[in-house]
Symmetry: C2
Subunit: 434 residues, 2 copies
Amino acid sequence: MKRTHYSKDITPDMNGSTVVINGWAHEIRDFGGLSFLIVRDREGLVQVTMPKKKVAKEIIDTVKGLSRESVVSVKGEVKAMEKAPNGYEVIPTAVEILARSEAPLPLDPTGKVPADLDTRLDSRFMDLRSPEVTAVFYVRAYMIRGIREYLSSQGCLEISTPKIVATATEGGTELFPISYFEREAFLNQSPQLYKQMMMAGGMDRVYEIGPIFRAEEHATRKHLNEATSIDVELSFATHEDAMQLLENTVAYAYAYVKERCRPQLKALNLDLQVPGTPFKRLSYREAIEIARQDPECAGLEYGDDLSTQAEHVVGQAIGEHYFIVDWPANIRAFYSQPCDDDPSICKAFDLMHPRMELASGAQREHRYERLVKKMVEKNLDPESFKFYLDSFRYGMPPHAGWGMGAERLLQTMLNLNNIREAVLFPRDRVRLTP
Amino acid sequence: MKRTHYSKDITPDMNGSTVVINGWAHEIRDFGGLSFLIVRDREGLVQVTMPKKKVAKEIIDTVKGLSRESVVSVKGEVKAMEKAPNGYEVIPTAVEILARSEAPLPLDPTGKVPADLDTRLDSRFMDLRSPEVTAVFYVRAYMIRGIREYLSSQGCLEISTPKIVATATEGGTELFPISYFEREAFLNQSPQLYKQMMMAGGMDRVYEIGPIFRAEEHATRKHLNEATSIDVELSFATHEDAMQLLENTVAYAYAYVKERCRPQLKALNLDLQVPGTPFKRLSYREAIEIARQDPECAGLEYGDDLSTQAEHVVGQAIGEHYFIVDWPANIRAFYSQPCDDDPSICKAFDLMHPRMELASGAQREHRYERLVKKMVEKNLDPESFKFYLDSFRYGMPPHAGWGMGAERLLQTMLNLNNIREAVLFPRDRVRLTP
């Protein structure tokens, strides 16, 4: 039977009308003279009520014979009913079984029997049926939709750049090698070089939301070997322009989700706060000073990378989204542009959530000779980056941009413990299936 | 100087106002008392006019000293001028050189000196500056935007599935192997298995627009080794539902581009016709019969794949988008569902443009035992697809879907000769850079 409504689209004022819902047998309860079937679809739950006196015996028997999580199509009459979950119930006139579920289930999608994350990921198809997990990926889709909408409104064109590349973005570490016909190639770690070439191509403002691949060996709650990167590059722009676009993008995504995903946020028991803009700007020097107040970070010196603990300490102190700016040039990528007055500092920035780094970016070095010099200083061979460097020789505009981890944005937005909860089918050192 | 307007946003009725434009020195012409600088940005051209009597000597000297394709920022006054390209010109009050171009250029972006495709792709950053090439990728961004908008309006949620996988979608051919830490893995040929698992997960209607990878060795004008696939999967849907969504998606994308990319279509000299829906449905048997009328295809028999020549002959005969349906089950993928009345035929379809295949899809076999049987018949080992097959055991709804090549859709929409013209940085057997 063809679906007429999702659960959320049925309301008590449809009292008396006929609907068809399709979904899973979430719960079956039998009280003798009265039995219930709770049908779950992507949008929520519907209570199908079967008083023995009003519903045909075949229907009641069919439902009683159902295994949990079987797929059903139910036709019935809407009855307004204050005590029911959404103020209505459905009295069935026909029930069709579309697929029977085996028992026992590999996981309990009602969440009453808790399972650890690995077990959940092993049976992700079943885990996804839990309303809290559905909600995460529902929000993810809207978060991405909001970001695209905002970036488009700001004149950014969506591009797709190659994932199979000949050269590493930032040198030879953390790469997955591929056999590409007779040659060796690599999975791209970032669209960085390609989006910069688009600036030389006159595409002005671009964005890409796509997979990136990093062969990091260590497993943490915030790293993935395959992640989704939200990349932006802007011509005729400074790092300050890029930071403004970034903070506005984040705030827009929060507001978009808050407005459009109310039932999902409720399922996650979350009162989402849209961050205020502009975000605080903290210099790298200030960040180091704050971190040093923590005994574990007392040894931290100017010029060191910020450790996870240092990020944690600073995040706790700030308590909201913030930028770290004015980074020492020698700990940032070769393509970051040094400051005009003090070239030991560069125009790079990181966007931080109190829990972790979300994005990093910079005004780029667009002057060919200086870029080559930087590359040599970082022990990179300009010859193997010729395809990239050539694009700086014939009119490369000043430009700036950033890359943000979509999973980290979702993880911090929804306060998920592990980044793997923000990916449908995560990839890490040990996990290659499903 | 901070840009105030793109070229397209300046109009003759802004006569007298001050603007700042940023872009490339597309052409420089000097007639003694009068010289011109044509500035090109992503949106078009601006004529900067410099009468010797009205413009400061330093500005005129600066412009005369410019090499073509240098990057400039021009501040000036808008002057309505019927004879100028867009009905206005700009009289400069300040010109800043942001980046000088070396000479000679690797390519001529005005298109006056033609170059073959390989040369163009070698210097793609310069090729992109030609207004016709900019137009292709401008349209691509809008085509994708329109498709997302339409699919979202139809209740589809965007998902991201892994590109690094342990098993081939349809068996072991045409795969790129990856070294994944201690193991061998592969680049995914299609999100097929994952989007089907999302149906078991209750996500109901999903889409993904992302990269797919095929190690096809032969080079043609319509094949890529890395392409963008537009994938859709729908629960509680038949192949006919999937075909309707597909034809409507294509028509919507055409209409979206036609309305929003007028200057780009003009640059490409294209009068885009939005295809009418529904598209014609042709059975596989009918297609074979039409193809056989061509001497080259006379030997084609029922059960053969359609050759490129056969596709061409049928495409010429039909002359517009069409579907081929009622395929012999044994030449389609294992996950296509056989017809109920004649299991030698299956519920698969291909969407054809007169020039080539654009998409293929099917109602899927959602019944576990039958699916396993099909797999064995196709010499696939169910054990290595366990992660996929398990999702069919606990309530898999009936479902249908399709995958469409984004580059083929763009190539046929814009009548591009070679599919490489529809990709920023194409990958084929010989091309791995830029």
